[in-house]
Structures are given as structure tokens and as C-alpha cells.
Amino acid sequence: MSSLLKITDLHVSVADTPILKGVNMEIRQGEIHALMGPNGSGKSTLAYALSGHPNYSITGGSIEIDGVNITEQEADERARLGLFLAFQYPVVIPGVKVADFIRHAVSNIRDPDRKEGEGLIGMREFRTEIKARMEELGMDLEFARRYLNDGFSGGEKKRMEILQMAMLQPKFAILDETDSGLDSDAVRVVSEGLAKLSGPDMGVLIITHHERLLEFNPPQYTHVMLGGRIVETGDAALAHDLHANGYATVRERHPEAAADNARAEEAAAV
């Protein structure tokens, strides 16, 4: 049976300000979901809350994987259960080589009970594997020896996120605007990379403003977020319509959520 990521009536606050006000969503392995919405609607908050960022406190509702409530779990425990977040702004860790970082990550994900200091995945096996994944993503093997995201261009950072996803083979991947700030070549690489990786074993939640990523990875479901709620869910045609026509009609249909969103945007601008 395929795994299920189930989000039920999720409420999330950041620094005591409520951002998500009851989000419901079900993602099965093998499905692609698009999450769209104007600035301030809470898309990235959902991504961080799902991954377990300590600054995003879950004040109500639940997140479950196959019936196991992970709401209280730490980020590393969630990752070991198969959750992955591709960051909008990948973090630089100076002095830590890409290969070392990924080797530790892979060792933990594949052996979820591994403790620090216990054995890592074999070097030969790891090297063969990362080399193959890097070749598939058109990355120079030299990247493995560089420090994680240190001095990387925007495109290189995003490609590094996709490489980590390829190595960690998550059950559920959340892509937080992985296509933002990239030139069209880089968007193509990321889109193709994701298309290669997604399949029956991975459920994907794509947070995006762009159409390109969805062209390569057509979603079965499109969710529209406004004012911290999911106000509409449709298919790929909804994503296409929002790209073409914007959020004006969505706002009209959901005036209360639109007002919440406007307040959130104002607060963010201050």
C-alpha cells in the first residue's frame, strides 16, 4: 500500500502570530500536488511546519504519515520517516563538504535508528551512487568536494537540493519555490530532475509561482492558499488558470480569506 501524508486542520503560529488557520490536505505516494497562492498566504509556513522548523509552532491539528502522528517530532525524526524539504533559500554550511554532509544524511535516512558515531554507509557504495546521481543531474563531480552551498550560484544551490532529494529518496518531497530566482536553463534542469525522480514511490508538493515546473511535472491536484487556508482545490487546469489570470477572482470568491491575506501582507511589509 502506498504511504499517506495527512494534514488535518493544521494551525501554525510564528512568534505568536497565527499564520495557518486550519489547513487540510492528503498526499499519497505517487501523487503530485501544486500549492499556489499570493504572497503572505502561508505556503512557505506550511512547508516549514511540515518539516518541523522550531520557529513554526503547531497550535492545533495534526500531521500524520500512515496514521503515525508526527506533529511533536523533531525535524530529523520526520526526515528519517521520509519527509524532505527542498529549501527556497538553501543554507550555507562553511567547511562541510557536500559529500560528507550527504553521506551522513543518507546513513541516517537509510538506517533511521543510527546514532551519531555509528557506522556510515560504505564509502565505495556511496561514491558510486552519488556519482551516478550527479551525472544524471548534469553536475560536475567536483561539487561533491565543495563546501555545502558555499559560493554556489542560485542555480547550483537548487540543483544541490535536487541532488539531496535524489540521494535521500523521500516518500514525500516538498519543493518550496525551488524554481524561484533561476534562469530558464536552471528551471529546466530542476524540472527535468524532479520529473526523473518523482514516480510511484514519491508524493510531491510543489510550491510555485511559475508554470514551467508544473509543465514538466503536471499536478493531479492544485490547491490555492489564501489567508492561511486552502480555499480551492482543482486539477492542473486550475494552476494554468491562476498563472494566466492571477488571484483576483479567487479573492472575490473568498472575501474573508482575502482580507486575512491582505492583513498578513501588510504586516510583512512593516
Binding site: A79, R80, F87, V91, I93, A105, N108, E116, L120, I130
Partner: protein, 443 residues
Amino acid sequence: MTVTIDIDRIGFSAEVFEEFLTTRSEPSWITDARRAAFAKYEELLGAELDPEEFKRIDLRIFNAAKFRPLTADSDASSVSTLLAGETEYGGSIRHVDGTTTHENVCEDMTAKGVLFGDLQTLLTENRELLEPYFLKQAVRPDADRFSAWHAAFWTSGTLLYVPQGVEVDLPLHSLIAHTADGVADFGHTLIIVEDEAKATLLEETTSANEDQSGLHVGCVELIVGKYANLRYVQLQNWNQKTWHFAHQAGNVASEGSLQWTVVGLGSKLSHIHQDVNLNGRAATAEVNGVTFASDRQKISYYTQQHHKAQGTHSDLLYKEVLRDDSRVIWRGMIKVDAAAQQTDGYQRSDALMLSSDARCDSIPGLEIEADDVRCTHGATTGRVDEEQIFYAESRGISEKEAMHMIVEGFFQQVYDRIPIEIVRDTLSRTVQGKLGIESMTAV
């Protein structure tokens, strides 16, 4: 706060000095120099230490009377080492509780005129060659009470002399060990690399066990000739009951280059006065510092990069990690004399705090008398970035493991400057040991 040492608690009285002299069989010129230094020591005990260098260090609980330069309890067999056996050495020397217990040097080097071994023996045998250097050019006995104290009581020491044009390819190894409780050692390291010569010396300090107390009042003198090249590493790895005071100075002649790495892992309290003197045109020095303080350790550095000639270049990078209640002090100074035009001086100290109870003071400084120079300095103090931790956690890496990777990465930037693989590897392993983690291996 004024810094004074209670003279009653010094314990290194004239009687102790005379008794110490009876244990030495040395030529009179050495004894005479000791006597002069002892007189200077007694005089300097009454003088205030330079507040700029010492005001942040609390010496009130330091009781020198608890330590003695002589001990019958030495046990050379209990000494452990981080660096010996890790690579092929051209020679090695070992000092235990202030006595040289082992020395060897490959015949190849001796045939080329290289001197390597016990300082007292080689000074005695080669007075004409070595007397002009020993405690005369790099470190002066009258610098302060610690240098005078050392010059009066220096115990054993390592001497390396490389004649003009001789390149020593294999590194040399020097170990300074404490095995007896309450030992005071006054180890001295003197390295002379003549014009166009080349050498590498790796030195480490160690305590046989965690519980014995110890005192090291050391001195390092590095003399680098014209077009010569010296790489020197000192890995201070005492236990946390050892006091460590040292005057260390490197003089670099025209077109010479010195690469100097200072590692501070151990000691209860350590204070190192480190001078780099760029005496000749286009002399260069690279200074690396790796410090990892934990528990209640206090580790202090006073560094000077003194540019005395035209076109000289210095580059200092210190990295400090602090955990628990530890304290690190770095006071750095770049001095540029009026004659030292077209000088390029750089100094930087970065501290990473792992605990809110640790404290770090980083104080860079410049004194520039020339007008056509480029000097830059900087100091940062920061905590482990929460976003870095979260990023690693989101990849299944635990918070603790992430913290350890970040510390390793922080030091990696200075390891990258050290061209000696075994030093990099040993540092990495030792730091990991202090963190309690498995080593990372690169692809």
C-alpha cells in the same frame, strides 16, 4: 585590575635556583647566562606586567610554589602521542618532565650538516655557531618575568639547525611530555633555518594522565634566513590541570617564509605571547591558530605581526571554538615601521560559541607608521546558526551531529591553509575526540 603575582607564592627563590644549578652540568657561559636571567627575573617580579597583554588574565590563583623543576617520579613509558607514528619523520626527540629521554635523526641529515637533538648538548658542542642565536635574537630574557624565568630555569629543549641551502624534506618531530604530578618544565625550542634552507618541525605537548598538575614555562625561537622556508606546528594538548606560559617568536629574513600553526586544545590556563618579526625585504609569514576550549579552560594569545622591512607580507588567521564555561582571549596587533612600505598585513580571528556561559574577547589592533601599506583586520564572534542546524536536521541529521559538523566545518577553513596532511588529519581527529564523534572522510 592590576596584575601582580604574590612574590611569596612564587617559590622559585634563589635557593631553588642554586639547587637547580647543581643538577646541571653545563659550561660556565650557559650558567652565567642563567644567573643574569635569574637576576632579571627577580627584578621583573617587582615590575607590573604589561596591562595591555595581561589585564584580561587572572593570575591570582596561580601558585608557582606548587611546582618544581626536578622530580624523581618521571615515567617515560606512560607518554602518549598524537603525531608520532603518523608519518615518516627525519628525526624525533622526546622530553619527559624537563629531561630529554630520546632522540634520533637520520644519517642523511647529519651528513648534510643538519643539527637536530637535545638543546643543551648541541649548545655545548657548537657554542660558536649557536650562542649568537639562543635567547638573543627572537626572544629576549628581559621581555617580561616569564621570559626571564624561562631563561634562568630552561630545562631540556629541541634544537634544529639547517645549514645554508639544505632542504630537509621529511618533517621532524618533537614531543614535550609531563608524567609526574607537580612538575615544572621550561622547555625550549630553537630552530635556525639558514639562507635558502628548508625544514618542517611538528611539536606537541602532552600529559600522561588527566589528574596530575603541571607547569610549562616555554619558549620557541624560530630564525628563518634569506629565501629560507620553515613550517612549524605546535600542538598544545596538555591536560586541564596544566599551566602553560610561553614566549614564542619568529624572525624572518629577506624573501624568507615562515608558516606557523599554533594549536591550543589543553591546559587549565595558557598564555602565549607570539611575535612574528618580518625583518627583511619581502619576508612573509602565515600564522594559523586552532583553539578549542572547553570546561573551565582559559586560553589566551597575544600576537604581534611586526613589519620592519619593505614589501613584507603577513597573514594571521585564528579560529576559536568555545564550549561550557571556557574563555578565550586574543589580542592581535599589526605593527608597521616607517621603513616597511608596500607592506601587506592581515589578521583575523573568528570565534564560534557553543555555550552562552563561554566568553571570548577578540581585540585586533593596528599601529602603522608607513603610508603606503595595506593592512586589514577583523574579528567575529558568533553562535551556531539555528538555520544551519535546521537545514541539517531536515536531512535526518540530529541536532548534536549537526552541531559537530558545523564545528568541524568552522575549523576546516584554517585546516585548508595547513599544507601538511598529517597535521590536518591529526587536528581533525583530535577536535572530533574532544567533541566525541566519528571522523568524517572525504570522497
